[in-house]
Symmetry: C3
Subunit: 173 residues, 3 copies
């Protein structure tokens, strides 16, 4: 279901020099990805993925137990597009703003045209006339692929920390 | 009132290579800016701005409605200096510490000697003998100018997330 | 007790170009350090320190008063190893997950084979079946040393913000 190790410590297979070379490129990708989501352009979100992508949001607890059940699971850019359209319509009823705070990216390995990377993040959510709350915190586990369209996510496993989560998690992370 | 687009998604006008070249320089600037504020050296804060600068703190909600009203608005380094002196004196009565957590900078464009950039941040505040709280989260929208004194802010629009904010926001962000 | 200035604003002694060169290396170190702690591999934590290291966790308030008392104080990699083993056993009784969100590193100076650097961080903690909470926020004040084993911490002073802290702080930061 995933080709990534989303659990435990995975030592980097790159020498620090090569990791440092790739890090700005990976971070640039993540910055643009989050800028699109933070500005509410959710219809624009699927363009960061390959046609045959995997996208999943899973609680750390489940990931650690090896349970493949996820809060969100999507295969292929088409499914992400369906989801994005659905959310764009739902959003109209409960407007909110999102801010991602990204830590630095951790670049782990190169496999052919792919880059394996991780990134810790915090996602803050603000409902209109409500307070700002910590919506989600966790780690991106990514397989990025070099394509003719530039770097794209062939796989993004979002592992989030809390075992309790609000029912309204529909927005991509 | 501002030359920056502080609302919605602004695509980067730089190719990723150039953005990656400029990012360390912009981040270096932001790191020093926050280090000064975090250490309580508020009198030192205006030196990060040009003489003719604009500095404003606005709620995201107001920014989205196109309302130019801000929590704080200052034009020119002199106004920042006045503010800094006032805060330095007020601080004596309610000591607190601040920590900024910066995300990576997003470099959007070059216009002559200017760099347009954004940066998400979290600002944590701790009152003496009190808990640490999320004071503010949001995005810096910046116009940085290359000058004889190095990179300076010609404009910083601080857009913060929450529509509810403590009354005591006086410290620069 | 420390060779580092852990209080107030310390201007960088490096020119921005040299700071920008060293920053990726320092950040790479911090990313790996936190990845080990976040994955619960606490026994692996002491390998980031020199044999003669100093490690201390102190409240900002105490640091500002010049009080050398710390929540945790360790001298030498051996003491860290003892601590790591003790925690690894204790952890079994209260499993939790940790996520560090690092800000960008601030590189201040080079002294022979040493690099002086700082880094703001947030540490989120999640107890099993509990919510995710802000466990600690603060700044790393570091003396990194170039050794045959690569970059290692000769000194890490963790200064945290809150004056109130849960009794259960045992996990390294």
């Amino acid at each position: 279901m995933t080709t990534l190790q989303i659990n435990g410590y995975v030592p980097s297979r790159l020498d620090p020099r090569r990791a440092a070379e790739l890090r700005p490129e990976v971070e640039h990708f993540n910055i643009e990805y989050c800028a699109v989501l933070d500005s509410g352009q959710v219809e624009d979100w699927p363009r960061f993925f390959t046609e045959d992508c995997i996208y999943r949001i899973t609680a750390r607890e489940n990931a650690q137990l090896g349970l493949p059940v996820g809060l969100v699971y999507a295969e292929g850019r088409m499914m992400l597009q369906d989801r994005a359209v659905a959310i764009a319509r739902t959003q109209m009823f409960a407007p909110r703003t999102m801010v991602h705070i990204l830590g630095p990216a951790r670049v782990l390995a190169e496999e052919g045209t792919d880059i394996l990377a991780q990134c810790n993040f915090i996602l803050l959510q603000t409902l209109v006339e409500g307070p700002t709350t910590l919506h989600l915190a966790g780690t991106y586990y990514d397989r990025l692929r070099r394509t003719a369209e530039g770097l794209l996510l062939q796989e993004r496993q979002v592992i989030y920390e809390s075992s309790i989560i609000a029912n309204d998690l529909v927005y991509p992370v």
